[in-house]
């Protein structure tokens, strides 16, 4: 069946075609769509879950693979950092069932965070790395990844980038393969499955390297990396992953400036690790100049230099290391043409790819902010109010931030949150500021899913060492920023089943936190008073600001209330807009206006108005 699907879905369908028994992961743009699509399907024999974090997910996948079955584990690049402690250990041990780690990198940082090139992790853990150049390739490379994993008996990386993960293209999808029903293996083999002792660890290391060598042979035999040698000794081009998708189009443009595509020898790399030494040596043998096109880090290119040295290659290598191309941002047609032009010394007009820059400067800045009805708005407003009432200035009070929607408090009109590191880091970062001698109150902010993911150890640490700080957990009941996934704290709303809710309100006191308060962030006075009280107390204080994400509530047809305007009371002071920054508010000709479609009725604007122009009527 031909179907229009995303790159993420192609991985999901590919895994089903490979008969995957378990799929798990943690949401993270741009990888989320893979597991999300599996969760929407009615799969009888494949178990799918959002795990609490990537490390847990990788360990689950390892258990499945050690028991002889096929497992898919999905995450964004930052998730690999979390999972890596376990992953490198699993790579040492190897596995019996196919184990595929699907990671989506984000060159161009479309979703924020970083331009981490996960290929580096494959090198460090001696794991094969497969990289599709298109949605269709993602489908069949996923299947090959499972085959390869079982043949070498070790885990395999499958890496896409945002442009492929989120692209939609037509793919011929076959029926899912039956999921293996064979009984799970229970192999007791401490030489393979433990690490205690240098003999065990070094033997595993040797076997790991042997597995990678075997992978190189299998990949070469299967012809995964495609080499097309031209008859004449023209330009050699090595293009890795998505960069290869732009060759054809780049050739058309470069042709107009004297490039002859038929003279070029091309190596398309879809398996970047192990390094395809056989194909690269053939290319070096044929071509006096070689251009390397790969997004982000120069991993392939550096290996080409090593190979060139070994072979006594006398030609020229063009890429990042000679300064032609950048380690930053996505690659496309422009980089293909620039690379060819540098390699062949073509004369390109300066304006070929450069226009419209003047006009760009005129565009209005559009800082991202929280949605209308977002409960986090109330929390930021309450933090700001509490700081003000303590007669402190905002630039005197450290408010550490964390990953997810809660970071949006960094932007106007709140300007509340100062920093962001990684999942759960706000809690520990705050402790560092306290130990550094900050005398004013130190606040950490974190979302619910982030707290479960990585915040709990930091809180335990704060309790153990009795650090004077206030943690505000902003619990909107969903993993919202990645598109509303379930987390352990999500209540079992209608239609959700198959799990037991874990309540943050029972976790926090159990960790030894003595001062714990639950507030409703839609109640400004209550919330800001609770924060103000906490800020002047010693020890670890935790405030749980709990109110469901307005987008999710509205999807169930619920509203918090309706906001009514009394126009004759409104003096158009704009205070409500200035303080809340709510997108549902705008200034009309006589009074403030509210977009009834956007408004959730949270009432934060009502609580800023000092002219009684706004009133909240609770939903029935």
């Amino acid at each position: 069946m031909k179907k229009l699907i995303t790159g993420n879905e192609a991985v999901a369908y590919g895994a089903l075609r490979a008969g995957v028994k378990v799929a798990c992961g943690y949401p993270g743009t741009p990888s989320t769509g893979c597991l999300a699509s599996l969760l929407l399907m009615d799969l009888k024999d494949t178990y799918v879950e959002w795990s609490v974090n990537e490390k847990v997910a990788v360990e689950i996948a390892a258990g499945v693979a050690w028991a002889g079955h096929r497992a898919l584990c999905t995450m964004k690049m930052s998730g690999v950092n979390v999972a890596y402690d376990s992953l490198i250990s699993v790579a040492y041990s190897g596995c019996d069932g196919g184990m595929v780690i699907y990671v989506a990198d984000d060159p161009g940082a479309n979703a924020g965070m970083c331009e981490q090139d996960t290929r580096g992790f494959a090198i460090m853990s001696d794991m094969p790395m497969l990289e599709p150049k298109s949605v269709a390739e993602a489908y069949w490379l996923t299947q090959f990844a499972f085959e390869l994993s079982e043949q070498i008996k070790g885990p395999v990386f499958l890496r896409s980038v945002t442009a492929i993960a989120d692209s939609q293209a037509e793919v011929e999808i076959e029926e899912p393969a039956p999921v293996s029903q064979k009984p799970p293996l229970l192999v007791r083999d401490i030489a393979r499955y433990t690490k205690a002792g240098s003999v065990i660890a070094m033997t595993q290391h040797r076997q790991l390297i042997e597995r990678l060598e075997l992978a190189e042979k299998i990949i070469a035999q299967a012809g995964i990396n495609q080499l097309r040698l031209a008859k004449e000794a023209g330009l050699g081009i090595i293009a890795c992953g998505v960069a290869a998708a732009y060759l054809e189009e780049g050739f058309e443009i470069a042709q107009a400036y004297g490039f002859r595509p038929e003279t070029a020898s091309i190596l398309e790399i879809k398996a970047s690790h192990p390094f395809p030494s056989k194909e690269v040596s053939q290319l070096l043998d044929r071509c006096p100049t070689v251009l390397v096109l790969e997004e982000l880090e120069a991993y392939i290119e550096k290996s080409v230099y090593v190979m060139a040295q070994k072979l006594g290659y006398r030609g020229r290598i063009v890429g990042k290391l000679d300064g032609t191309l950048s380690r930053i941002g996505e690659y496309g047609v422009k980089q293909v043409v620039q690379g060819i032009s540098a390699a062949l010394k073509l004369d390109l007009p300066e304006t070929l790819f450069n226009a419209g820059q003047e006009g760009l400067k005129l565009a209005a800045a559009r800082p991202i902010t929280v949605c209308a009805g977002c409960p986090h708005r109330g929390t930021y407003m309450a933090i700001n109010q509490a700081i003000k009432r303590l007669k402190l200035k905002k630039n005197e009070v450290m408010v550490t931030g964390d990953i997810g929607c809660t970071i949006l408090g960094m932007n106007p009109p709140f300007d509340t949150v100062w920093n962001e590191i990684s999942m759960g880091a706000s809690v520990s970062l705050a402790q560092g500021y306290v130990h550094a001698g900050v005398q004013t109150p130190v606040i950490a902010t974190i979302g619910d899913s982030t707290f479960f993911h990585g915040g709990i150890p930091g809180l335990i640490n704060a309790v153990q060492h009795q650090v004077n700080m206030t943690l505000i957990i902003m619990d909107n009941r969903w993993t919202a920023m990645t598109g509303m996934q379930v987390n352990p704290g999500t209540p079992c709303y209608d239609g959700l089943k198959g799990y037991q809710q874990v309540d943050i309100a029972s976790i926090v006191p159990a960790l030894g936190v003595n001062h714990f308060v639950i507030v409703d962030p839609f109640k400004l006075e209550e919330t800001s008073t609770a924060i103000q009280n906490a800020l002047v107390m010693p020890g670890v204080k935790v405030i749980l600001a709990r109110q469901e994400c307005a987008i999710q509530a509205q999807r169930r047809g619920e509203k918090e209330g309706v906001i009514k305007i009394t126009p004759e009371n409104c003096n158009k002071c704009k205070l409500c807009i200035i303080v809340t920054g709510c997108p549902a508010l705008s200034l009309g000709s006589d009074a403030i206006q509210i977009d009834p479609e956007l408004c959730y009725g949270c009432g934060m604007c009502v609580q800023t108005c000092n002219k009684e122009a706004l009133h909240k009527e609770l939903a029935a």
């Binding site: 422009k334 565009a363 209005a364 559009r366 200034l587």
Partner: protein, 200 residues
Amino acid sequence: MNCDIYFTGVGGQGILTIGEVLAETAVSMGIPSNFYPSKGMAQRGGFVKAQLRLGREHVGPNIPPRGADIVVSMEVSESLKALPLIKEGGEFVLLGNVWAPTAVALGKAPYPALEQVKEQIHLAGARLIYIDPAQLPLYQDETVRANLFVLGVLVHLSALKHMFQPSDVERVIRARFSREVESNLFAFRCGLEYSVEEAA
């Protein structure tokens, strides 16, 4: 024939739907396509872009600078972000909606004038197809969905008319929208009848 379309606007306008409908139409006709939407981090009101590449069997998701045959913009200021993309001689479809960021609404930040934006499009060497939002028709006393209207204008006035018949697109609209099929078809058909006075 190949056709590369760059979409720009803000979240909540339904601009991605235009791209999805066209991608589905292409697929239904056996035309190769790659549709790459990019929502960034924002919900409603945030910057949204998308790229639709029609006609090439092997194609990367990103349109090269100065490579877009058509730009579709549904927001005045966001149009400017498409300027590095539009081809000289390309078509620039602009629905003149203004979604002012809060700082602009409060008078704290500048926002480009429509005339400035039109001038920049002209300087880029593109043909402007301007749609006045006040011209959006009513369906049962309510303004129709702008995105379906813009889709109609696109299929009627841009180079896409050489690729798609209105009936090809209507089939996809019918299949796609279980609710409000009639109002969406009405908006699309009104777009098909739109005539541009300001084409320059």
